[in-house]
Symmetry: C2
Subunit: 104 residues, 2 copies
Amino acid sequence: MRKNKVTTFAEQIRRLRQEAHLSLREVALNIGIDTSLLGKIERNERQPTKEQIKQVAKYFKLDERDMMKEYLSDQIAYKILEEEADLDILKVAERKIQYLRAKQ
Amino acid sequence: MRKNKVTTFAEQIRRLRQEAHLSLREVALNIGIDTSLLGKIERNERQPTKEQIKQVAKYFKLDERDMMKEYLSDQIAYKILEEEADLDILKVAERKIQYLRAKQ
DNA sequence: TTTGTCAAGGACAATTATTGTCCAAAGATA
DNA sequence: TATCTTTGGACAATAATTGTCCTTGACAAA
C-alpha cells in the first residue's frame, strides 16, 4: 500500500503552500525569489534551480534530498512523455547506469 | 539471457562504424554532417539531433525508433549519474508517467 | 623522409534555450 | 469599491549548445 499519492513536483509544492494557507508572495519572499517566478515553478513553467529547491525544502521543513528526487523523477517522466517513448526505456536506462557505474 | 551487451549510444554507433571498417569522414559525409561533429557524437561530446539519429539509423540500416530509445535511455542514465541519484528514482518516474498519462 | 589518412580536441562565432523580472489583466474576497 | 492573489505575456539578460574550422599527433605506405 502506497502511503502518498503520486503527483508532480510542481503540484506538491503548490499543495504544501495551499495547505499552509500561504500566498505566493508570502512564500516567494521567504525563499528569496520573485512571486511570479514561484507561480511559474508551481505551474511547471520554469524549472527550479537546485538552490531554489533547497530553499523550498528548508521553508517547508522537508528533506532537501527528497525534494531533489521528486524533481529529478519529474524531469525523467516529462522527457519520456514528450518523446512518446515506451516505459521500458527505464529498464534500459537502469542497465546503462549499472554499466556506466561499473566502469567507474 | 540478454542478447546484446549494454553499452551507450555513443559506443554503439562507434562500434557500428568500426566493425564496418569505415572512417569518420566516410560516414559523416554520407549522413551529411561534419567529420569532427560525428567524432564528438561518438565520444558523447555533442548530443545528436533527432535528424542525425535518423540518418545514422538509415545509414546502418537500423530501426530509427530503436536508436531513439538507445539515445533517450542514455540521457536518463547520464542524468541520474551526474546527479548521483538513486536508482529508485526510476520507479518514481514510472509512477509519475502513469499518473500523468491518466490525466490525459 | 615525405605524403596521406585518420582521430582528437581546442577555440569560437552563431544559434537556441532558459531564466528572472516587470507589468497588466483577471479572479477572489470582504 | 478597494485589496489581495494568481496568471500570463513580453522581453532583456544569461546560459547552454551547436557546428565548423583548424591544429596536433599517431600511424602507415611509398
